[in-house]
Subunit: 240 residues, 2 copies
């Protein structure tokens, strides 16, 4: 893991870009010198790690005392795309313009993104926990499909907050019962692109004995501001 740039934000948070082989990432750490718990933060459906909303959430959680990491996984953000990835993306765009894609289009676009993302997140986790500024249990926040894939195989994930606003491929829907850590599922009640019943079924399927659903009125982008604080309180209960 090689740090390629660093800036110090007004509230003392350190924001560092890093490379791990082909994986570009960002790490936010709080002012404190003591080791802090880590949150892996992933945007839905492969949005870039420098998207405004992710960066804003990461900075606030770092200011609240967590180390927060985000990466661009294959086919996402600034990563170069293979011809297959370009084709899947083009098919997906075309289906969106034609009034919303069918499940098969989702499967062939999102499925491979998720399959490639999980091992890269594990490699990133391996590298991050070696850093002296990171210690204690690890949380995951964001993209549900990747988080399910990760939490189902990765014993170091101690708590997970998922956003139910993205397509969850069949493989991860089936893996949901293998997720047994405390979890918080965040649902926008009127999410245009995500059938409510699928999210409720997913919540039901998780194997966790401690799981909480927060549903709020509104569309995909309408999550209320207080849910970020609720997320920090959830992680505070399980990572501190």
């Amino acid at each position: 893991m090689r740090f390629t740039s660093e800036q110090r934000l007004d509230d003392g948070v350190r924001e560092r870009e890093f490379s791990l082989g082909e994986i570009p990432g960002t790490l936010w750490t709080p002012r404190t010198a003591a080791p802090v718990p880590l949150i892996l933060m992933a945007h839905n459906n492969g949005l870039p790690k420098n998207a405004d909303r992710l960066v804003a959430r990461a900075r606030l959680s770092a200011a609240a005392g967590y180390a927060v990491a985000s990466i661009d996984t294959p086919g996402c953000g600034d990563r170069p795309r293979s011809p297959d990835e370009e084709r899947a993306r083009a098919d997906f765009r075309q289906a969106m313009q034609a009034g919303g894609p069918a499940d098969e289009v989702f499967e062939s676009f999102i499925g491979p993104l998720v399959e490639k993302a999980v091992p890269e997140w594990r490699a990133t986790l391996d590298a991050l926990v070696e850093l002296p500024e990171i210690g204690g249990p690890v949380g995951y926040s964001g993209w549900a499909a990747v988080g399910i894939g990760l939490a189902a195989v990765e014993p170091r994930i101690a708590a997970a907050g998922f956003f139910a606003g993205g397509y969850v491929p069949r493989a991860q829907r089936e893996a949901a019962r293998k997720v047994t850590v405390p979890l918080l599922l965040l649902l926008q009640w009127d999410d245009e692109g995500n059938p409510r019943q699928l999210a409720l079924d997913l919540f039901d399927a998780f194997g966790s004995t401690e799981k909480t659903l927060h549903a709020n009125l509104g569309g995909h982008l309408g999550t209320p501001w207080f849910e970020r604080e609720d997320g920090d309180r959830f992680f505070g209960r399980h990572l501190r």
Copy 2:
């Protein structure tokens, strides 16, 4: 309103019993001298106002800076029961022993309790807001059916937290769209006595533009402790 007894708890909270005509009530107020927002706290399905769980919640919310009031409404707690009320209660018990009552039994037991409770809560509210130690907006917490009936007709209710663990009579299910204040609906995902789908339909029906559902794994009595704090934070956003 006549205060009949008073005790001061360890954390400075004042706990006073009162009578308002035939209505017996309890008022908890925090140590502070400044007027504080009021929360009307009602137990599901007419459990008594001195039930341990309600008293514990009320004391904690008072310690957190709210005035909290609870009353025994007709047919509930220590109130004398009419022959009709005794009969409805006996029918209900019998149906419970026979494996869970049908909707009609619920309607004839719970329906009248709710209809009689709403005007008594309004009369109590009239009296409480005259007290110098109470000021600012009013919240409602607890028994969903009574809260819907109250919030649908009572403009002084500014925010409502409902527990979706009790039967909601048809009249209140129909009135749900008239409830337009910010609300938090608390659901136990595996509540033995309360079909999950009814609670989800109720959440969908509320007229509020700001509404949040918190669902937790577990049965009727399994609400996790952190939901009480979440409730205080919800009221903090709307009553402060």
